[in-house]
């Protein structure tokens, strides 16, 4: 998606973040006290600090929880069933779809390491935060 001329931003801050994540350059915003957040931000949501630095995300994160969605809205109609996960990357956690596994409650375990990237929704090709296992599962 970043090979072509960039599409006009619908959600400035978020769109740039998603493009960076797709290029393997995902980041968190981190305030001087170490609180992490995701863009767009003017201040830290925890403490209000205005000095927010972009800090690169680690290459892999740790699964904190997961689920398998069977009933979805129209934008995910052709994606079901799919696994969702919340993954800890240190200063921030990310929410995304788990790819590269059969969706099931045992598709992944809490504490498993996964990599993050941007993939396409099956339903309409729109970009989506996606995780893939890194241990060959």
């Amino acid at each position: 998606m970043s090979d072509d001329a960039p599409a006009p931003a619908d959600n400035a801050g978020y769109d740039e973040w998603l493009d960076a994540l797709a290029d393997g350059e995902g980041y968190a915003l981190v305030c001087p006290d170490g609180h992490g957040s995701l863009p767009p931000r003017r201040v830290c949501p925890e403490c209000g600090a205005a000095a927010l630095a972009e800090e690169p995300l680690a290459e892999t994160g740790s699964v904190e929880t997961h689920s398998v969605v069977h009933v979805a809205g129209p934008r995910f109609a052709d994606d079901t069933p799919y696994a969702n996960a919340i993954v800890d990357f240190g200063p921030v956690r990310l929410t995304g779809v788990l790819r590269g596994v059969e969706p099931g409650t045992d598709a992944v375990a809490i504490g498993d390491r996964v990599a993050v990237g941007v993939e396409e929704r099956d339903t309409d090709g729109e970009p989506l935060v996606a995780f893939r296992p890194t241990d060959g599962k």
Binding site: H70, N84, V97
Partner: protein, 388 residues
Amino acid sequence: MTDVRVAGVGLTRFGSHPDRTGRDLFATAALRAFEDAGVPREDVEELNYGNFMGALAEHQGHQAPLMAEAAGVNCPATRYEEACASAGVAVREAVRTVRAGEADVALAGGMERMTNLPTDEVTEGLAIAADDLFEVRAGVTFPGAYALMATAYFDAYGGSREDLAHVAAKNHANAVPNEYAQYREEVSVEEALEAPPVAEPLHLYDACPITDGASALVIVSEEYAAENDVDAPVAVTGTGQGTDRMALADRDHLARTPAADDAADAAYADAGIGPDEVDVAEVHDCFTIAEVLALESLGLFEPGEGIGAAHDGITTADGDLPVNLSGGLKAKGHPVGATGGSQIAELTRLLRGDHPNSEHVADAEVGVAHNAGGTVASAVVHVLEVAE
């Protein structure tokens, strides 16, 4: 500070009314609340009205003046939107207004119309209570978010789908005698376990239904009730509200609901009571796991202990601490923007002794209502006490 009484309550039957407009649903609830209260409409000085997705479901914004008309009142009218806690915050504002002496009589409640939309559009509509950029675009649905919390809970504290099925069976059993409930049939633990998955680990009977309905309460000052000989034996003695980070991923705990902890702490402090004094509770069981999280935030069970409450018979109708005697959102139904008002209507009836399930709490004097928005980024807790 003025003490606040619930003078009257009104509900529509919760369920599927695909042909009934929102204004007609709220008009019905308000009519019943005025009949119950014996308070004249012209004494109402404020309408506090909750609604979540009326702009999507009925293409209708600016609903407060419309609902003032429907209720037959002419006063300042405001709509409150806090997802599934919309009516809870509306009632809270009515309580605060009457307490502050700004009004002697307020009408509060809410309405939601949902079954006129196809299920996938309701699913998408409910999802707008989550963070659009970082959750909805990542595939998180409303059941999916609670499924993430359930997995995290099982990992942190233990528990099983069977424990959750006991919550479903309990609340369905409670709804059987309730004339306002959407589902008045029992569901067994086995049926709940065998139902198809919605968002695993949650299955069909872990989830509340899609519901149309409205709730209305006539809230008055103690002085107004005394001067006008209004029978209003139940007082609202505590109110509290809490807010958390919007996205589940940004919370301190994935298996706890700190916003509800804050709301409960504030409501108990306001009422001058502790959780050990609570006799009966109506809590926001949009999913079975949500009832567990609510019990723990309310301080009725320690973190990790709420999961066994239904299974062990503590929160069943005949248990020591009956929870969701109305049937809860689970079986009574969940018209999102009406639910917070409905919980207080049900608690009022339970404490007054005119609820079909009042026999289970004949000696109860203190009730607590817990209403949550989204994945509990918003929470409202009220304490009700028998004052006379």
